[in-house]
């Protein structure tokens, strides 16, 4: 796989996605080779043009910088049948035929936390395989996107004009994870409104949070009272707003430049290492949880759990007491 065999790479990705024993073993072996790629998350509401944007970004990285690009495109699974239609490739046909680009579609498979874990594993495989840039595309809809954003060094949140209400909905969660805001479809009417809305949200939200991530180069925020509160404003990263029209490739060079600036900022401020650390910490935590749960299930017979549930239904046992009794049962 390290030698660049695409079939082995594809097979390994499947094993990692399925969390099979071979997949796990491979991840152990590959881990020393990881940590080199720039991981870029791309998220946003459906229909904002994420796939087209990823297509353009990948094209740009290929043409301008000759970097190897991997794309992980996540689409939702049906919660009822578990099936999925993964259609992101439709927008990425410009990339086919280039052996230095590898696109992998992935269904969310609807498991709690499992998606983030599977994605993390697949990203590690691409990283070890020597891809320079790894683009992770997800539908911005909730917690799993936030988890996946934690994987990435740089997270782009994609908006489009005319989705005003969506912006309102997204403000609370998704906007905070943005390192760069992209207004795609910027040839549509209403761009100014979208931009104004985003700008004002940023001005309100950012000084209060993530102080250490701000940067001084975009100085639109009135910084009078900020300076005193946060010390040196020049080391802060304030998410820039980039306008693009991905169907025509407009604004893409500027966006790529912003991504590069962010990477540079992360390296200089030491945030790259800090993020890497936080990322590994989260990953460790997830794996520990899973391992503990697996051990618990091994040790405690399902029958016993059923008994305890019965007691709870009868109100003989509160959930907290139930946990206590089951955990005690384990330690025997």
């Amino acid at each position: 796989m390290l030698a660049g065999d695409r079939l082995s790479l594809a097979r390994l990705l499947t094993r990692v996605e399925n969390d099979s024993p071979e997949g796990r073993a491979a991840l152990v072996e590959l881990f020393p080779y990881t940590g080199k790629a720039h991981l870029i998350g791309v998220t946003g509401a459906p229909g904002t043009g994420k796939s087209s944007l990823v297509n353009q970004l990948a094209l740009h990285y290929r043409r301008q910088a000759d970097q190897r690009v991997a794309i992980v495109a996540v689409d939702p699974s049906s919660p009822f049948t578990g099936g999925a239609v993964l259609g992101d490739r439709v927008r990425m046909r410009d990339l086919s035929g280039d052996p230095q680009v590898f696109i992998r579609s992935m269904a969310s498979r609807g498991s709690l936390g499992g998606l983030a874990q599977a994605t993390a594993g697949m990203v590690q495989v691409f990283d070890a395989a020597g891809f320079d840039v790894i683009l992770i595309e997800t539908v911005g809809a909730g917690q799993s996107e936030v988890d996946i954003a934690r994987l990435a060094h740089t997270t782009l949140v994609v908006e489009a004009p005319g989705l005003g209400d969506d912006i309102q909905a997204i403000k609370a969660g998704i906007l905070e994870i943005a390192d760069i805001l992209v207004i795609n479809k910027a040839d549509r009417p209403g761009v100014e409104n979208t931009e104004r809305a985003l700008k004002s949200t940023l001005e309100l939200a950012h000084p209060a949070q993530r102080i250490f991530l701000h940067h001084g180069q975009v100085m639109e925020v009135k910084s009078g009272d900020l300076r005193s509160a946060q010390g040196d404003i020049s080391t802060m990263w304030i998410p820039p707003i980039q306008k693009t029209v991905s169907t025509e490739g407009r604004g893409i060079p500027e966006l790529v430049e912003a991504i590069a600036r962010h990477a540079e900022h992360l390296r200089q401020s030491g945030d790259w290492v800090a993020r890497e650390r936080a990322r590994l910490e989260v990953e460790l935590e997830m794996l520990i949880q899973e391992a503990l749960l697996a051990r618990f299930r091994e040790d405690v017979p399902a029958q016993k759990v059923q008994q305890v549930i019965e007691q709870m239904v009868k109100r003989d046992l509160s959930p907290w007491e139930a946990v206590k009794s089951l955990m005690n049962g384990r330690s025997k």
Binding site: T14, S20, T81, G82, G83, G87, S96, S105, A107, S111
Partner: protein, 142 residues
């Protein structure tokens, strides 16, 4: 959740590439099939219209699919199908089952089967049959 994780369906979901090679622009059939397979719990990668055999084989490789479904209504199936089968083989994916849908004259069926096409479906085919045939073909392999 833990039970789900260990069930065979979950540990190895059937992955299908649905592709339209050639120049005809009628993707209704492909979309109907894609949806039916999704509802049967499979993961369907849809690639869109006007794909070259090379693009299809490359996508099948990257996505590590078990099945490739081709929809051809242009009459070019005798040229496109063998080309795709050859490319799959050249890429080391001879295990991938190829299914064909569209307007395919009966007299072409024996030769298509001979080339290695697993199933052929025309207008009026039942999606249930397609689903069962895919499951059957993959179970045989395992």
């Amino acid at each position: 959740m833990s039970e789900n994780k260990t069930s065979p369906e979950q540990s190895r979901r059937i992955r299908v590439l649905v592709a339209k090679p050639g120049l005809d622009g009628h993707d209704r059939g492909a979309k109907v099939v894609a949806r039916a397979l999704r509802d049967a719990g499979m993961e369907v990668i849809y690639t869109g219209l006007r794909q070259t055999p090379e693009m299809i084989a490359e996508a099948a490789l990257q996505e590590d699919v078990d099945v490739v479904g081709l929809s051809i209504l242009s009459g070019a199936h005798m040229a496109l199908a063998p080309r795709i089968l050859d490319l799959l083989k050249a890429n080391g994916q001879s295990h991938v089952k190829v299914f064909l849908g569209g307007i395919i004259p009966d007299e072409d069926l024996p030769r298509l089967k001979e080339m290695g096409v697993t199933g052929v479906y025309g207008p009026g085919a039942n999606t249930e049959d397609i689903i069962n045939d895919i499951r059957g073909a993959l179970a045989e392999k395992a």
